[in-house]
Amino acid sequence: MFNQNGLSLDQAPPISVVLRFFLSGSLFGILAGIFILFFQNNIFNIHSPEALTLTHTFTLGIMLSFMFAALFQMLPVIAGVTLKFPIKKAQLLQYPFILGVITLLFAFNFTHAWIFMLASALLGASILYIVIIMLKNLLKLPNHSASSKGMSLTLISLAMVILLAFYLTATLSSFNEGSYYLQVREAHFSFGLFGWIALLIISISFQVIEMFYVTPAYPKFVSGYLPLKIVALLTLGLIISFFIENIWVLIDIFLALILTGYALITLKRLTQRKRPLTDATVWFWRLGLSALILSMLSILITLFSDNTLFSKLSYIFFATFALSIVFAMFYKIVPFLTWFHLNSQGYFTAPMMHEVIHPKTAKKHLYIHIATIVTFIISLFLPQFIILAGLLTTLSFGWMTWQIIHAWRLYIHTQKTGEKFDMGTI
């Protein structure tokens, strides 16, 4: 088992597997920016088609793509799971997945039963296909780390999100009466945001915070039990909500407190870094974790008041949390993988991490990202700022897209022209 657990070349997936998902995620990000320009302030009407379209562009198109990139890369490194034929699997997942997201976005705007059914079939088949493969491999592990346990639970949550979505699309296509529509929608939403997005970030952070920033390890009571607590709470919420609809209020309070605690513990870890240099990725983490705390506080305020401002803020801050962490990971992973793959292939001229993406480039993206968030918040008070927010969103993801293309071109260029050691003689 041990020799499967490594970042050796034969175990790490080809770089194209990771870059392709980063690319599709950032292209969906550009699309989200364009949607914001068209939909403008309607995106804040939570159940409007515009809001649904933007939310799913964000959660499926952007976040799920990025998280597939993270899973394909991280499963071998931190969980010791090596997927066979990774390129083929990535293609089998990605093409129907992209088609499915686009179809679903159409379905929200042109409500026809068959479009919802087509979207469900494409998304369900592609996502459940990879969830089952990854889970099967994870469950075969004889020893589990906090991260591998957490990842298994996030994949189960993702499967729940999809199964619950089937019920919702069936109702929207008039295939069922939707007697439990409200409960299922709440569960779909909670499993998605907490059980999938937040929990995957948490599970990965148990190892990467220590690995990238050289901090003390997380306390065992956090890394060992937190993922299970989150999924147990969500499951309880789902079951009890069929009898007591308001149970989600209680579940949300617990989840908000747990996630706030996690964010505080992680922020503390970042102050205990052995490497005192602070690069943009540290700031992305700090920003993301602070946004998580603000999002959870906004949720708590929303639960006890009818204040729609805090409800909107909770979404903005949650998106800030998720995206900031993705960017933090992106600016470490892409330069490292480009260097690592070329170096391991024996290229003497493998570009260094700073040559792939310079820290100054990451810092500029940090400023764009902060400006985007600030303009979103301002747009709640001065609606015309939404145009600027849309433009900045497009710029932010355009920036990221360019970094991916640059890294890929550098990779190919080095392979074509680079000087190489003969690894056979070493």
Binding site: F2, N3, V214, K332, F336, N343, M353
Partner: protein, 146 residues
């Protein structure tokens, strides 16, 4: 747990030395950076030597497996040694950007390597080696110098 404790502490000490050298280079104090880098490089190479000459052979003899985990660790040691050479070049030419860039690669490579050793290999050594052999291997490791 005597193997785990001793070897994990060596990892932590090397991390501290590495961070000090990185900070000195970031400050542009190259004399200080060189001194601290040399300390890190020597301690890391001595740690590798202790593993490759004493710990890994003891583990391989006990388990009869010389193709498994220890082989992966040896391969990763070579990758780290390559980076140490490049870092030395950057210190010599006082190239701050190159040094800090190589530091990034080094830390990710080294940390994931250390995690594997700490979470799996050392724990396995502490489990499979008989107590006397463990104590004698530890003593022999302490005597290894570059």
């Amino acid at each position: 747990m005597i193997i785990s404790q001793f070897m994990t502490q060596e990892h932590r000490d090397c991390d501290t030395e590495f961070a000090a050298a990185e900070q000195a280079a970031a400050n542009g104090d190259w004399a200080d950076a060189e001194e601290k880098f040399m300390l890190f490089a020597n301690d890391t190479l001595r740690h590798f030597k202790r593993e490759e000459e004493e710990l890994f052979p003891a583990f391989e003899a006990q388990t009869g497996n010389s193709e498994g985990p220890t082989q992966v660790m040896r391969y990763e040691h070579e990758q780290v040694k390559g980076l140490i050479g490049k870092l030395a070049g950057a210190v010599e030419s006082q190239d701050k950007d190159a040094y800090l860039s190589l530091c990034e690669s080094m830390m990710i490579l080294l940390q994931q390597h250390n995690m594997k050793e700490e979470q799996m290999l050392y724990a396995m050594c502490d489990r499979v080696l008989p107590p006397e052999l463990k104590a004698s291997t530890l003593e022999k490791m302490k005597e290894v110098e570059i």
